[in-house]
């Protein structure tokens, strides 16, 4: 009798559970964001999160996104990848299976974007990375073919490496360059190699090509070696928490050459951590807030009103990612993962806050211009444009 009672209870519970699990028609558009909120680059994650929240608020304030004949509000789910590759992957998994998002925006840094993009590709969910510039993010590592579900809102490093190498030769008149980069991180390694290739192709000589591992703090040995090689410019394509240490240690060793950076320098935290040592350095990035087009100026104003500070490149690119997503959803006409992906793949041209993006022949990497900024009086100042 007792056993029968137990079986009955279990049956009731299962029935209740099954009844609760009905497939309801979605009433909102669910978007996931994976950002580096803690870990080694929290400023990047913070910018991404703020821009995402601003973008979603703007969409919802106008009543939502028009899809077919219904207006859907957007629901945002933000996950922290804690600056770890495995957590990026598990965050993607959680957003796809538990929160059942329509698309994922993020992660930003290449070494976290790649694991998440593999999960998205495997689950056939659209992923747009705002800031990852290394080509590997949109290429399937096993087959070498482009991924179908992973897109980006920024330019790629072969282009950026060329821009920087040409700037070093023409703008800084350098013939000998030294590079110090993180060998354990895809982005740093990739762009260091692209830079070296272009620099040497154009007749320059890379006199020192030194490496370190992520989380290293002492660069004195590598910098002493670089000093011995007497370069005209030192290229440091590293993230904003490492560059200040590298520049300070270099200055202490009396290295007089100017320093050149890449888009990983774009965060304002770089200036906070670097102080005066970064004065006069140049770096390439995605947009210049002080030389912005009217569409960009509206975004910058909205960001300043909402949060008080200027948006950096990560914020601008995240905003553009949401813009791309919104256009894709509207053009798809339905809230279906595959339809939205297909609609995004059809977009040929998009005018964003960070400039014009051209997606050629269904490629998921836009062709865009870069800007070179200079650090002057403790802020980023527009210096030059570089077109593809």
């Amino acid at each position: 009798m007792k056993r029968a009672g137990l079986v009955w209870c279990i049956c009731v519970l299962v029935a209740l559970g099954a009844a609760g699990c009905g497939e309801k028609a979605p009433s909102t558009i669910r978007v996931g964001v994976i950002a580096e909120l803690t870990g080694d680059m929290p400023a990047v994650g913070e910018s991404c999160k703020k821009a995402a929240q601003l973008a979603v608020k703007e969409m919802n304030d106008t009543g939502g996104v028009q899809v077919g004949d219904t207006r859907y509000k957007v629901e945002l789910f933000i996950e922290d990848n804690a600056g770890k590759a495995d957590q990026s992957a598990s965050a993607a998994q959680k957003l796809i299976t538990q929160q059942k998002v329509l698309a994922i925006i993020g992660p930003n840094a290449t070494r976290y974007a790649i694991p998440a993009s593999e999960i998205a590709e495997g689950s056939k969910v659209l992923l747009i990375t705002p800031w990852s510039t290394n080509p590997k993010t949109t290429v399937d590592a096993r087959t070498g073919a482009p991924k179908k579900y992973v897109f980006r809102a920024c330019f790629t490093d072969p282009f950026q490496g060329r821009v920087l190498a040409r700037f070093a030769m023409d703008g800084l008149k350098a013939r000998k360059a030294a590079v110090l980069y993180d060998v354990a991180s895809d982005y740093n390694k990739g762009i260091a190699e692209f830079f070296k290739a272009t620099f040497e192709q154009n007749g320059g000589k890379v006199v020192a090509f030194e490496t370190y591992t992520t989380n290293d703090r002492d660069f004195s040995a590598q910098l002493t070696k670089i000093k011995k090689a007497e370069p005209d410019v030192v290229f440091l394509p590293n993230y904003y928490s490492e560059v200040p240490l590298q520049i300070q240690q270099a200055r202490r060793l009396a290295i007089k050459a100017p320093f050149l950076g890449s888009d990983s320098w774009g965060s304002r935290e770089l200036i906070t951590l670097c102080g005066n040592d970064c004065e006069g350095c140049y770096f390439s990035t995605h947009y210049a807030p002080d030389a912005a087009a009217p569409a960009a100026r509206r975004f910058i104003q909205a960001f300043k009103t909402a949060y008080g500070g200027m948006p950096d490149d990560v914020a601008a690119l995240t905003y553009d990612s949401f813009g791309l997503f919104r256009q894709a959803v509207s053009e798809a006409g339905t809230i279906d993962r595959q339809a939205v992906r297909d609609a995004l793949a059809k977009i040929e041209k998009y005018e964003g806050v960070t400039g014009d993006m051209q997606f050629r022949e269904g490629s998921s990497d836009p062709v865009k211009s870069a800007v070179v900024l200079r650090i002057k009086d403790g802020s980023f100042v527009y210096f030059a444009n570089a077109h593809p």
Binding site: P42, N215, R217, D218, S241, A254
Partner: protein, 291 residues
């Protein structure tokens, strides 16, 4: 020649920091036969205490050093009393797991309070001198000098004072020492205090030399210092000092003369080879298990 001298200076600076942290590992092992895996994170707490004293209390160098040393020492003693003392009779594994747990707790607690990497404004004037082609900064001199002075003081204390003798007695024979009137709990607490205090000083010197600190900075440095302690002979204080300088020297000189990508590979390879031929470390004594 000046290139070599510059690299030697770099090695001395790095080695001093490894040596100070290695001392903490070795002292605790010597007295309790337990590896305090939380020591790297105590070093990180020392660096954060340095940040707090420089930024909020605006203290100059020596008071910052003392504040950090005392703060970390107190934390070390508290951890010892709360986490390790109850496990003194427990299997070794339990103590190790607890140590790892304490380390994780410290990392995540600091992460919760300070998720962003922090910058420590310089609290020692940024002067350097050029001796020919070699650049020597005040910073390097401060780091190397502080470490050497503290190491000499520690060595004197262990060899010439009653407390030091008590420490050596306990590490020699833990059961008989209390029978001879040695206050074991007190001496163990003092050992922890001194060991972690030195870790705190290392945190300050590290914050001085590499002024960007974050909650996970203690992990890699802690492991390297632990390896230095093992290479020098774990449990032996002079061994820890030597081990620290050896690891610093190997890391820097490998980069100086080989492509820098080989650094970790060659450095740890050499240490592995050393341990194969001398498993108890350079100054360690081979321990015989008497049944």
């Amino acid at each position: 020649m000046s290139y070599l001298l510059q690299q030697v200076l770099n090695a001395l600076q790095l080695g001093s920091i490894y040596a100070l942290i290695a001392l903490g590992y070795t002292m605790v092992y010597g007295i309790l036969t337990m590896i305090n895996f939380a020591h790297g994170d105590l070093f990180m707490v020392g660096a954060f205490l340095c940040f707090l004293s420089v930024v909020f209390l605006k203290l100059p160098f020596v008071p910052t050093l003392l504040a950090s040393m005392v703060g970390t020492a107190l934390l070390g003693v508290t951890i010892e009393r709360l986490a390790y003392k109850p496990l003194r009779q427990a299997p070794r594994v339990s103590a190790i797991i607890t140590a790892l747990g304490v380390g994780l707790f410290l990392e995540n607690f600091t992460l919760a309070l300070s998720p962003y990497p922090k910058h420590i404004p310089s609290f020692v004037p940024d002067i350097s001198w050029m001796l020919g082609d070699v650049s020597i900064s005040l910073l390097q001199i401060v780091v190397i000098a502080c470490s050497l002075v503290l190491m000499v003081l520690l060595d004197l204390m262990v060899r010439r004072t009653m407390t030091g003798m008590a420490m050596r007695a306990i590490s020699w024979d833990k059961t008989t020492a209390p029978l001879m009137g040695v206050p074991v709990d007190l001496i163990i607490s003092m050992t922890f205090a001194i060991g972690t205090g030195l870790g705190g000083v290392a945190g300050v010197l590290y914050g001085l030399a590499y002024p960007v600190i974050d909650p996970y900075m203690g992990i890699m440095v802690g492991w390297k210092a632990f390896i230095s302690a093992v290479v020098g002979g774990i449990g032996n204080i002079r061994g820890a000092m030597i081990g620290g300088y050896i690891l610093g020297a190997v890391e820097i000189l490998v980069v100086a003369f080989l492509p820098s990508t080989y650094r970790d590979f060659v450095a740890f390879g050499l240490l592995l080879v050393l341990l194969v031929f001398r498993p108890h470390g350079i100054l360690g004594k081979p321990t015989v298990q008497k049944v």
